[in-house]
Structure formats: C-alpha cells, structure tokens
C-alpha cells in the first residue's frame, strides 16, 4: 500500500512539473520578454495561455504536500525542519506570484502592471529553483530523520541542490516555450510562433546541458542515487532522453503537437527516474518509504481520495483545458 501511495505522490509531482512547471516557465519568458513595448506581444500570449489554468495547476503542489504529510508524516516533518529556508522563500514567492498575476490582470495603469508583472515573473523563477533545490537536497541525503534538523544552509545550497534547482528552472522554461508555440499558433500569431519556437529550442539545449552537468554532480555528491540512475533507472533515463531529443527534432521541423507530448514525457521521465533511483528510500540514508508510511487506514483513505479525484477532477480538468484551448480560436468568443 505504501508503494501505491508513493507512486501516486510521484505522479502528482510529475503532474505539477508538467502543468504548474509550465506556468512557472511562462513567468520566465514573461521576465525575459523585454520592455513594455517590445514585450507586449509575448506577454499577451503568456497571459492568454496561463490565465484560466494557473490556479488549477497550482493545486497539484497542495496535493503533493497533503499526500506527503498524510502518508509520510515523519518524512514531511524532517524535510520541513531541515529545509525551512528554501521552503519559506518558496512560500513568499508563491504569494507574490499568484497575487501579482491576478492583480496585473485587474489593474490598468502600465506602471502598476509593470510592478505586478515583475513580481510575478521574478517569483516564477525563484519558486521552481527553491523547490528543485529541496528535491536535490533530499536526493543528496541532506535531510536526517528522527526529529533532528540538517544544516539550514548547505542542505539546499550544495552542488546537487543547485544543479537540480537550475534544472527545474530550465525544464519549466522549456516546457512553457513548447506550450506557448502552440498557444501562439492558436492565436494565429506567426511572429510569436517563431519567437517561442526559437526559445523552446534554446531552452531544450540549455536544459540538456544542465541535466548532463547535473549527472556529473550527482555522481560526485550523491553517488548512491547515481548508481541507481545508471542501473535500475537506466531505461527511464534513456526513454526520457529519447523523448527530449525527439521533441527537439520535432520542434526544429515545426511539428509542435508531437513536440508537446514528447516534452511532457521527457520531464516525466526525469522525475520518474529520480523516484526509481531513490527507491526504496524516501530520505536517502535516513528513512525508507515503508518505514515512513502511515497506517493502512490512512493510506486507504488517501487512495479513496485519489479515486474520487480521478472520477471528478480528471474530466473537469479536461473540460477546462478544452475550453481554454477553444477560447483562443479567433472566431469564437470575440466581443462584438
């Protein structure tokens, strides 16, 4: 049962990376879009693309937190005891990001919009870095169990953490660019299609380089995880890499629909490989999944909640995405 919940947790993390991550990435492109005049067009695509969906995508994070504290309370407590600095920064970033995105939409003055937009975009980079750094610190075995706190600074400012943090930002930017190509196409905006396609290719290359460097760092500083990555998790690593390369080729050939699917699979591959490489540990060197797990009654309730979620949330999510996509068709919903 604990294995099932661990798989649910990993899938929820992958969903957060694929949906929420892309929203963070959209913030990255918002940040780098340039001044008010020059950046107006890409920002319009960003705004249309994530406006209706970012809140629903954000809920994946809450879901991950809830599943972690309910199913693995001891591990949850240990992670927060050690990682309170990056998690506090992430919390502040989440507040700034969500609020300022909503505010930016609701105000009219360019100056005010710029302030909110800046807060939104900056925190869109800060939050994935911090969350990635936490994941890296966990993988590097920086989180002890048993109610002790690890080092408040080096636990998340070590080579592995920084590599994973930067990788998180790069993957988010990459995913977002791939999505935005398609959204720009729906908006019938060829200039923006090219704009985001160039950025998607660049981000893919950067993410690939960061991932390669990250592997070297993991080999040096989190060797047990690296061992597993090149043995047990190797099929996932290879599959993820193939998907990434395939997505890049499709992007270059301008076949964005396929590129989108492959890009999501590539990111999912990274997370799945991480999960498998750490297995059966939840906190490497400190706590296994089985030892951290809550009693069966709790796990059953969690699985029931997930079942309810699949029944209710999945169709609603599809409805939201279908509507969000359709609203970009110019012949629909245009005001008289």
């Amino acid at each position: 049962m604990s294995t099932a919940v661990a798989v649910v947790l990993l899938l929820a993390l992958a969903a957060y990376a694929a949906f929420g991550g892309a929203d963070f990435g959209a913030g990255f492109w918002d940040l780098t879009a340039g001044g008010a005049e020059r950046g107006a067009a890409p920002r319009a695509v960003v705004e249309r693309s994530i406006g209706p969906v970012w809140e629903a995508n954000h809920v994946w994070l809450i879901f991950v937190l809830v599943v972690t504290w309910t199913a693995f309370p001891e591990a949850y407590a240990a992670i927060w005891l050690t990682m309170f600095v990056p998690l506090t920064i992430a919390a502040v970033g989440i507040v700034l990001r969500g609020a300022s995105f909503a505010f930016r939409k609701a105000v009219v003055g360019t100056g005010v919009r710029r302030v909110f937009g800046g807060a939104f975009a900056l925190s869109s980079v800060l939050v994935p870095f911090c969350l990635g750094a936490v994941a890296g610190g966990i993988a590097a075995g920086e989180v002890p169990a048993g109610g002790r706190a690890g080092d408040p600074v080096t636990s998340w400012l070590n080579p592995v953490s920084i590599a994973v943090g930067v990788l998180a930002v790069a993957l988010a930017a990459y995913l977002a660019a791939v999505y935005l190509v398609r959204d720009a196409r729906h908006g019938d905006d060829p200039a923006m299609v090219g704009y985001f396609r160039r950025r998607a290719v660049a981000a893919a290359v950067v993410a690939g380089v960061v991932a390669a460097v990250g592997l070297v760092v993991v080999d040096r500083d989190a060797h047990p995880v690296f061992e597993e990555l090149v043995t047990t998790a190797l099929p996932l690593v290879v599959a993820g890499t193939l998907c990434a390369v395939g997505a890049l080729l499709l992007l270059l050939r301008d076949a964005t629909r396929g590129a989108r699917v492959l890009a999501v699979l590539a990111v999912t591959g990274v997370i799945a490989a991480w999960g498998v490489a750490q297995w059966p540990d939840l906190l490497p060197g400190a706590l296994t999944v089985a030892d951290a797990a809550a009693p069966d009654g709790t796990l059953t309730a969690l699985v029931a909640a997930v079942g309810l979620g699949l029944l209710l949330v999945a169709p609603s999510f599809v409805l939201l995405y279908v509507l969000a996509q359709r609203r970009l068709l110019p012949e629909e919903g245009v005001e008289p």
Partner: protein, 498 residues
C-alpha cells in the same frame, strides 16, 4: 567610528534565543486570521453571483447579469489571494509545527486529502466560470458555476473537520512507543465536534459574505447611488445574510452545548467560571482577576447554567477552571481573551440578528427592502462587524483549547518547531501580508471605479502597454465624472456578455 560589535552581537543573540513557541503561535494566528477573511468570500460569493446570474438569464435582467459578471471578476482576485494564503498555511504546518505533523499527520491529514480534491474542482470551475462569460451559452455557463458553490462548502467542511479533530481527537490507536498504530479515517473525519463546527463555519461564510457584499452596496446607496443595479446587489447579498443570521444563532447554541459537554475547561473560559458550581451567571464583559475571581462585568444570574442545559435549568452544574490543574487550563490572560472574544462574537451576532429581523419585518409588511438611512448605515457597518465576529469566534475555538493543540493529548509547546528564527519569519510574513492586504483592497477598489466609469473590462488584453484596439485602457490620470445615478450603463455593448 567603532561599531558596538559586542552589543550588537549580544542583542542579536538575545533576539534569536527567544522561545520560538509564541512566535510560531503568532505567525499561525496572523496568517490564518488573514486567510479566514477570504474564506467566506470564496464560499458564499459564488452563490450570490449565481443568484444574480440565474435572475439575469431567466428574466433577461441586464442589471442582474452585469452584477453577476462583475462579482465574478472580483471573485477572481479574492480567490487568487485566498489560494496563495491557503498555500502558505499548508507550508506553515511543516514550518511551524513539524512535531505535530510528525506525530499526527497520518490522522490530521485525512480530511485534507479530500479538501485537496474539492479545492482542485473549485479552482477548475472558478476558472471556467470566470473565463466562460463570453464563450459559453447562458445556461451551460450558469451550471459551470454550481460546482463552485458545492466545492466551496465541501472544502471548508473538510478543513473544519481537521480542526474539529483537534478539539475531539478520535479514530486512532497508539502503539507502545506512542506513535499512531491504526487510523480509522471515517471516525477521524466525522469526529464528534465536526458536524457542529462545520455547520457553524459554513453558515458563518454565508453570513459574513452576505454582510460584506451588502455593506459595500449599502454604503454606495447612502452616498446616493440608489439605482436599480445597487439596490439589486444590496438585496441579493443582504437577503443571504438575513437568512443565515437566525440559523447561525441556532447552530452556535448547539456548538456551545457541545463544548459544555465535551470541552468543559474551554466552556469555563468562555463563560468565565472559576469554580465548579450550579446557578452560574452569564457574565457580560468582565474579566478574571489575578486572584482567580471574576471582576466587573454584568452578571445575569443563573443564565449560563440555564443555557447549558435548559432541562435542569439553573441547577445545571457547570465545571469551573478549578476542575483541572492550573497547567492544563488556559492562562488568566487567555481566559480573558476567550471570554472577550465570546462576548464580541455573540454580541455582534445578536446585532446582526436584529438587523435581519428588521429587514424581514419590512419585507413582510411592505414587500420591499428598508431604505432608511439608519438601516443602510447599520448594514454598511455590518460587513466589518461580521468579519470581527468571525475572527472572534475563531479565537474562542483556538485560544480556548489552550494549552492543548490536540485536546488533552498534545500540548502546543510539544508540537512547535524548535527553530529559533521563527521571530524573523513572523516579522517578514506580517510585512508581506500588510502589503498583500492593502494591495488587494486597492485593486478591488480600482476595479470598482473602472466598472463605474464603464470602461469595458477585458480580461484578455495585453498585460503591458496599450491594448491593440484601445478598449479597456483608461489613462492613469483619467478622472471621468461619475454618472449622477451611478452604475447604470449607457453603453450597451460594453456591459453585457451577450
């Protein structure tokens, strides 16, 4: 100049060596107290918008439709702020209470798993509803709003179930080392306190939300904007509040009796009862003095006993604070806080009930809402008062449980983090939230002014700079004259979704 390095270091050490527990409590109280203001809007505003929406579609009422549309735009902002401040709370469970989560996460977390599902659905349908105005046909669009109302209620019931479990911990067994061995999720969620607490919170959401929204329109009407648009907004919101007010009295009374039977020490703090006895007076205001006796206030003889159990009347024995050792009851300061908060909650609740009665009587007699300046002034004040009552009620629940975080099972100081830096995050959070709160109010106000100026509000225009066709862009310094009657729109194209 030589810096007083030693003194600075000593001061820094003194600050950082402070006990983290009060800081953790303060930070949780502050962030939860902030978030709880957004809860009634999230739960009840959608319902009010749907009432307006229904009226608008059914009777082709353009004022009602416009009301629903604008309300949903404001909702988008308050929902976003509520979502992020709610996320901060789930971070704080780990940041401030790691030992509580390590020990009880597997029981306490169960209701939250369901809350997560409801929040998912709420976020999805809020987006569909808000963005659906110009894209969906009227009735399908109306129906996409209904899940928001349901999930808002179910989500808050789930969260309150977790809090109720802290007041009535059940549904688990411990092993020999004191860790949770088994969990019965049904008994955790449906704990004894849950039905009363959940009902009290849901009705509070409608009462507070109704008063808050109505107060804005009552204030505008006082200032002369008495057009149909404002009257409609006022009537829908205040009718919701007026229905909720008497229900809340009944539910609150039931919850108080539950506390009397199950959390006697909390009840003793609420009613200011130092010693166990019968014929206990209901003391209005007053306080517990340093010698443990009640000072001041207006005692109504026997009423507390009578209310606790009318079947035995004034003979009902009420357990006093002295029924448990001093270290298992709230401190004198906490008792006084709880009692004052109780008086504030019940007092404001009574005022709101009277206001609702006034409204109801005028409706019955004259078939219309009262329009007098006194009534409108009272409703204008009711929004802030209702929020105060809700905050006070929450203080009664939380401070009244002291020193326990899980009633009679775990103490607050055993649950808190040992991290001495909490004082710094507390300061940071207060500053951040002050900015957030101020900005939220300013943004809502700016939206309302823009709506009044009838600048068509487009949610898909360019985030920066002028939008392509110039619609929806008002120069920062534009001060268009307000229409004499306000609200009513001359520009038909700009106002209706269809």
């Amino acid at each position: 100049m030589v810096l007083p390095v030693d003194q600075l270091a000593a001061a820094a050490a003194a600050v950082s060596a402070v006990d983290p527990v009060p800081w953790a409590r303060s930070q949780m109280a502050f962030t939860l107290g902030f978030h709880i203001i957004l809860v009634p809007l999230g739960v009840s505003w959608a319902a009010m918008a749907l009432i307006a929406n229904y009226r608008g579609v059914k009777h082709d009422d353009r004022d009602a439709l416009e009301l629903a549309q604008r309300w949903s735009k404001y909702m988008a902002v308050t929902f976003a702020v509520g979502a992020v401040t709610g996320t901060v709370l789930s971070f704080e469970f780990g940041l401030l209470w790691p030992r509580f989560m390590a020990q009880w996460g597997d029981a306490f977390g169960v209701p939250f798993a369901f809350e997560g599902i409801f929040f998912f659905l709420e976020a999805i349908f809020v987006a569909i509803y808000i963005f659906g105005w110009r894209r969906l046909r009227p009735w399908p669009h109306f129906w996409t709003g209904v899940p928001i109302v349901l999930t808002g209620v179910l989500g808050s019931v789930s969260v309150v179930a977790a809090n109720a479990w802290m007041n009535a911990p059940t549904g688990y067994t411990l092993d020999s080392s004191g860790r949770i061995a088994t969990v019965d999720p049904v008994r955790v969620i449906f704990n004894d306190s849950m039905p009363w607490q959940a009902a009290h919170m849901v009705v509070a959401a409608y009462l507070v939300g109704g008063c808050l929204v109505a107060s804005v329109y009552a204030f505008a009407m006082l200032r002369g904007r008495r057009d149909r648009y404002h009257r409609l907004g006022f009537t829908i919101a205040f009718t919701v509040a007026a229905i909720a007010a008497p229900i809340q009295m009944g539910v609150g009374d039931g919850l108080a009796r539950w506390v009397y039977e199950n959390q006697p020490v909390k009840f003793a703090a609420i009613e200011l009862v130092p010693e166990t006895s019968s014929d206990v007076p209901e003391t209005l205001l007053g306080r517990l003095g340093p010698d443990g006796q009640v000072e001041g206030g207006l005692p109504i003889p026997g009423l507390a006993s009578w209310l606790s159990d009318p079947s035995t009347g004034r003979d009902t024995v009420v357990q006093g604070l002295d029924s448990v050792p001093a270290d298992e009851r709230p401190t004198t300061r906490e008792v006084n806080t709880v009692h004052l908060a109780w008086d504030v909650m019940v007092g404001i609740g009574t005022l709101l009930l009277l206001l609702a009665g006034w409204y109801g009587v005028v409706w019955l007699v004259r078939r219309r809402a009262p329009r007098g300046r006194l009534f409108l002034a009272a409703v204008s004040a009711s929004g802030v008062l209702a929020v105060l009552a809700m905050e006070a009620g929450w203080i009664v629940t939380e401070v009244g449980r002291q020193p326990w975080i899980v009633y009679e099972v775990m103490r607050v100081e055993d649950a808190a983090t040992g991290n001495e830096g909490v004082w710094a995050t507390f300061v940071g959070v207060v500053l951040l939230y002050l900015v957030l709160g101020t900005t939220t109010v300013l943004v809502l106000r700016a939206m309302s002014r823009r709506f009044r100026r009838q600048a068509a509000f487009r949610d898909d225009d360019t985030p920066y700079g002028p939008s392509p066709d110039g619609v929806g862009r008002v120069p920062d310094d534009a001060r268009a004259p307000e229409p004499a009657a306000g609200g009513a729109a001359p520009d038909q194209d700009a106002r209706g979704p269809r």
